[in-house]
Amino acid sequence: MSETGKFGQYGGQYVPEALMPAIEELTDAYERYVLDNEDGFMDEFRERLRDFGGRPTPLQYADQLSERYDTDVYLKREDLLHGGAHKLNNALGQVLLAKYMGKDRIIAETGAGQHGTATAMAAAHLDMPCEIYMGRTDINRQRPNVFRMRLNGAEVNPVTVGRGTLKEAISETMRDWATTVETTHYVIGSIVGPDPFPRMVRDFHRVISDEMREQSLDRLGRLPDSVLACAGGGSNTMGAFAEFVDDDAVDLVAVEAGGSSLTVDEDEGVAPNSATLSTGVEGVLHGARTKLLQDSDGQIMESHSVSAGLDYAGVGPELAYLVDEGRVTPVNVGDDAALEGFHRLSQEEGIIPALETAHAFGYLHENPDAVGDVTLINVSGRGDKDLETVIEETEKRDLDVDVEMSVFESSGGAM
């Protein structure tokens, strides 16, 4: 990491000039409050994460999975963080920072709705007005999170351009910010965007691996052989990896969404996956140079995943860099295996995971020998938001692990 906000050749600040003064202001605030703990900012942040968020989250031994795969599987239970996902770490950090900076309005984009929900909660908690941009497609497939945002008092603005998913929501939030930059802070939801966002969002999520590392040493007297985390934009991924990057013996595995296929349709501009780290090409999108799903001209592709939170054509520049350096191993898991992972964790461990998280369990199932004797898996979120999608998608398929819902039919009702 250099002073200019680059990770190797990745990162940078590719944004309209109108936003640059705000980004300079944010960089200054990040360095003073987050890095130097000015005015006790980090102390207040940690206190609120504890009291409001419920940190630290447990590291739990997974009995059934450990037996099934003949390896010690530990679950980092970020699904138990307030709101049901890791997202609160960053949302709370940024809304608090906006408050220290004297901003009086919060905007954010959201894909699965987890970041929007976390931002709405943090904004309500800290008494800041909040507007969330969300793609029309995502609004329809993540209804419970839309309800939660509204209940916390946030405005939800539908984005109808393009396929109406995360990529379009980010572009639209940047447009709002370009108009309101003097009074508004944009709480970006992943380790993407212009510097300082990728390193700042990572630092707010760093608490995940900080706890994992300490819990591992306390409980096991050793570090794990591997850490697994799903990767879309990459915030839970870098949160789970950050403190292990210098531990060369710990394998860091980023599990991407393989979607329905890894091949792309150039004519239609569609990649039926979100496997950016595995298949992407270097380019510039949403403020940073990073790996992207794009056609040969440089137009950004429409990505796909059954999980809305991984459905993004870009990825954090730091992850792109760590993959090029060979420090992080990118792998991918398709929609079917992710759904099976979802059902397996629900049935065998009593944890209904987010569909994003389920990709990591799909990988474990397909590669139990690749994770070593001790593996830590980041359970980045819980799956309540995905129930309708999962039941719908499961009915369409012939999966190895399944669940049938005929109980509804006997009473005459339908899902």
Partner: protein
């Protein structure tokens, strides 16, 4: 300062420049050729010709829609270069696009192959809304190598050291963003324009103002305030969009564009007269 003599000449005439924008290929290749040529007939001094990118983060809905129409009709960087060669206009053309398209073109990553090709087909410069001065060195170097200009956008929020940095980098003209936000036609001209122009009045590069200019009177007002040129995009794209929606003949839409261009150019000229009167020349 300028690299490209044709672009420099467009601003050296003793009158304010009218700088219209259209997205190349909107709503299709052939109609778009007619529309751009109509702007030249209507009095355009420089034309900003948009190369459509899938994620235009600086654009409002009008130009976003134009970009979608052009992409759906098959516009690509290679087709864009053909488009420039097919145009029969005697007006310098500036390429307005986003950095990833410049970065991906050709066999090597980086802007040089795109700039080389742009020079080859006769483009005179670039406006790249997602490329601030901090990241512009590779494009600046390629522009210098091929005698093309790199226009920067000065925003209402640009002050202090940022202005100094842009002053060193800019060439051709400076694009003064009249208001915060995205592109789009408005019903008034922002008071911000005068303030922004006053911050750069000692720069020795022509100053063209854009964002929100819709009518001849708007053009007059910004020229009166000291602008050397008026940039108009969305108000023209609106005419293309209406023609497409109503299925109007291409020749009719082209006539409307020519008339609108004339109105805007006359407005700019009127502004220059008013400025001269006010200063007692």
């Amino acid at each position: 300062m300028a690299n490209n003599p044709a672009l420099a000449a467009a601003f050296e005439r003793d009158e304010p420049a009218f700088v219209p924008y259209l997205a190349a290929g909107d709503p299709d290749y052939d109609a778009s050729i007619e529309y751009v040529e109509a702007l030249a007939r209507g009095g355009a001094d420089v034309i900003e010709l948009g190369l459509p990118f899938s994620e235009p983060i600086a654009e409002g809905t009008t130009i976003q829609d134009a970009i979608v129409r052009a992409l759906d009709a098959g516009m690509t960087p290679d087709r864009y270069f053909e488009f420039v060669e097919d145009l029969d206009v005697d007006v310098p053309l500036v390429c307005m696009t986003y950095y990833n398209l410049l970065y991906q073109y050709g066999d090597e990553l980086g802007p040089r192959p795109f700039v080389e090709k742009a020079a080859d087909v006769g483009l005179t410069g670039f406006v790249v809304p997602d490329l601030p001065a901090e990241e512009a060195d590779p494009l600046r170097a390629a522009c210098d190598e091929f005698d093309l200009d790199l226009v920067f956008i000065v925003a209402p929020t640009t002050r202090g050291e940022r202005l100094d940095r842009m002053r060193e980098q800019v060439s051709g003209y400076v694009y003064v963003q009249a208001r915060l936000g995205t592109t789009g036609a408005r019903d008034d001209v922002s008071d911000q324009t005068e303030v922004s122009l006053s911050r750069i009045d000692d720069w020795d590069v022509p100053k063209a103002v854009g964002f929100g200019i819709k009518e001849g009177d708007h053009a007059a007002r910004i020229v009166r305030a000291g602008a050397d040129g008026a940039i108009v995009g969305s108000a023209l794209v609106d005419i293309v969009a209406a023609g497409e929606e109503n299925d109007d003949p291409v020749a009719d839409v082209a006539d409307r564009l020519e008339t609108k261009a004339h109105e805007l150019k006359q407005g700019a000229l009127r502004g220059a007269e008013q400025r001269a009167e006010a200063s007692g020349d």
